[in-house]
Symmetry: C2
Subunit: 299 residues, 2 copies
């Protein structure tokens, strides 16, 4: 055990609403192992999230050929969705965790640290939801991420809802004609407005996000309604990029499932600034663990 | 009982998501009694809706000083929310109801019959939700009413969501400045974006609809963002009015809680066409019961 105490083992956790990824890392040997478990958003279930974090950590140790007894030696950095809410953060901080140390931050923070290899920078995330984050010095900036349908403009859910709304208006003859209507009915296998309404009423963001690519396809085919939706979303992302770099971020990265689809529509000076993500969020969580650990030893 | 058989007693039912109204009526004596019970939207609970219909009918008989034994003699016309869905209609039609006759239609149909005193015409309804309906001859036209947030443009919920969205964008510096932001935070007693997001995420349409009057107030005060929201909603209602009268409706009425607020913003030729509601929806349900009963006797 002496070697473990001298050369700490770091574990990075990326915990979201659908899965929890773990990455085991040592400064000398690099990546040692990985783990994957179920949902780890503490807002959607505190004990389930804690269980997923432990399970993914045990998997990471096993995949490295290491004993589960080492759990108590791990220096864990965890970036979790939903941790912005003070109450949720308090509950997670009060957790009697089984690790050597457990440092907590947001999923946005570790995504940013991963994208910029542990350095300062900014990220825009567009997948089912959307949000922006920058860290320069000790200052963190959060933009958007207010959830569907209140915010998350330019997210997959936002695009899908806009497509369903435009379809219903067009079918009633109360909105402009649009090729989105035919495309949405075909994609969803709905015969008419009533069927479309039945299949989408009360649905969560993920169901709407499935229509995101369809909106880009219709915009590319020249449909004016789809073009206007995409232009509106792109203007929002460009404004977000401007604000994130205004605070002095040296590097800006766009991540998430819609990244490739949005890029052609961004303002040219924003598109020119974009740099690729250098590492994953779970590696960002390892950087976070290393930074807090080093700060603690220095103090 | 002979007199009851010769001069039928009609009962009009207006069943919605929050309450069920009953109106007891005879051709000779006019309105005899009234009843009020809980939610009667069968989509939200079939047995609860059926229970509310029976309870309001019993109340109406009691308030008229009549015996509950007369339930089996009543000719009931019921306009129910949610009955457009074929499955729900089928379940309600299969009901072993305790009445002499039970004729089923939509809440929109009885609102229209009430507004035009049993004659042909069209209605636009704007309250928590929004929709349009016209009946000319045997033809019925339904517009909108697809629910929040898919449709229901120009409804209270739509106005409230637009206000919350504009507020979150403005507070992030990612949308135009607007006096809606200060007004929404004050009205909701929220300190910032995070508090606003927490208090509205996952909320149903009724919570958003509480902000509807605030949007009109800010538009009237000259806020450009609020003005644009109201203009967009008014254009939708004007287009709906044009379409409903295009099918030949001799009369057009606007009903629901937002009627007075919308009227100044409608297209002048639409506003000029509007006529007041002559009767309530529950009286419309009585007209409906009389019409079906007379048709049945003639056949």
């Amino acid at each position: 055990m002496t070697s473990v105490d001298e050369k700490p083992l770091f574990l990075g956790i990326d915990g979201g609403g659908s899965k929890c990824r773990a990455l085991l890392y040592s400064k000398n040997d690099g990546i040692l192992g990985e783990g994957l478990a179920g949902p780890a958003n503490p807002v959607q279930g505190l004990q389930r999230a804690q269980g997923a974090i432990v399970a993914s950590a045990q998997q990471a140790l096993a995949s490295a050929g290491l004993s589960a007894n080492l759990l108590g030696h791990l220096i864990v950095g965890a970036g979790l969705a939903g941790i912005n809410a003070p109450r949720t953060r308090g509950l997670m901080e009060a957790w009697a965790h089984p690790f050597g140390a457990f440092y907590l931050t947001t999923d946005l923070h570790i995504a940013c640290l991963g994208a910029h290899q542990g350095e300062e920078g900014a990220v825009i995330i567009t997948g089912t939801g959307s949000s922006g984050f920058a860290q320069v010095g000790q200052a963190q900036q959060f933009l958007g991420g207010h959830g569907f349908p209140l915010g998350d403009k330019a997210s997959g859910a936002w695009l899908g809802l806009a497509a369903v709304q435009a379809t219903l208006l067009a079918l009633d003859g109360l909105g402009p004609e649009t090729s989105l209507a035919g495309a949405v009915l075909a994609e969803t296998q709905c015969a008419d407005s009533t069927a479309l309404m039945d299949s989408y009423s009360g649905q969560a963001s993920a169901a709407f996000a499935k229509l995101a690519a369809l909106v880009f396809a219709q915009a590319q085919a020249g449909d004016r309604v789809a073009e206007r939706i995409v232009e509106d979303g792109a203007a929002y992302l460009s404004a977000m990029a401007e604000q994130l770099t205004r605070v002095g971020s040296p590097r800006l990265t766009m991540i998430g499932g819609l990244t490739q689809l949005w890029q052609p529509y961004l303002a040219p000076k924003v598109a020119a600034k974009l740099a690729p993500a250098l590492q994953t969020p779970e590696m960002g969580a390892v950087y976070f663990a290393q930074q807090v650990y080093a700060g603690g030893k220095a103090a």
